[in-house]
Symmetry: C2
Subunit: 126 residues, 2 copies
């Protein structure tokens, strides 16, 4: 998977092996300097859609703190399963959202992951 | 920031503007096919060090579910501040850990972010 502006490729590839349990989307966005506000407005519309879909668990949008980051924004989102994630990307509403011409300015690189290790200090809100 | 195997560049750039509050490291690793086990063993040694440092909050190691992912592993780690994060990367112990020749096989791309938006469904463990 590499950066894309093609609507048909704006979703992560399916797992190449059977996978049960939660999945995490890490979707990295190329956002030109000075275009943060336009990107966030567009992304927020899409995120409202995803938050209403069955199987959505959480998301966090991250903004880079240094200007040399290849990806200025990264969305990390959890879903109950890769099937639920895929179903949310098959609807007519998703296709309409992602076909908007404004998206062509912001290439993305969506990849599905599983969490293999996690640790937190006591009391950390993670 | 781009992929690196240089020990001196194995930490994220500092913020280019004043920043108070939590920061999130997103560190993406290139891991050749068949080398997951060697990578995880090496990464686990480093993660043990970081988990003991002041200001460490949490980490999650993610493994890609599809083989075409440019980065097979991604570590997402929270720290109380970019200063605490930087301090943990200035110690002799960190420099020793990251200078190990085994790391040269696994290029990484560490970038610091701030969370700008988050949502979770009720009851989701995030």
């Amino acid at each position: 998977m590499s950066n894309t502006v093609e609507p048909d490729r704006r979703t992560a590839a399916a797992p190449d092996r059977p996978h049960a349990g939660h999945v995490t989307l890490i979707n990295s966005f190329v956002v030109p300097e000075g275009r943060d506000e336009a990107f966030v407005a567009l992304w927020t519309q899409a995120s409202r859609y995803f938050r209403e879909q069955p199987g959505f668990l959480s998301l966090r949008l991250h903004r880079a703190l240094s200007p040399d980051a290849a990806y200025r924004f990264v969305n990390v989102a959890e879903w109950v399963s890769h099937q639920a994630f895929a179903a949310a990307h098959r609807t007519a509403q998703f296709k309409e959202l992602i076909a908007r011409p404004a998206w062509r300015e912001f290439a993305s690189n969506p990849v599905l992951y599983e969490v293999t290790t996690q640790h937190a200090v006591a009391g950390a809100q993670t």
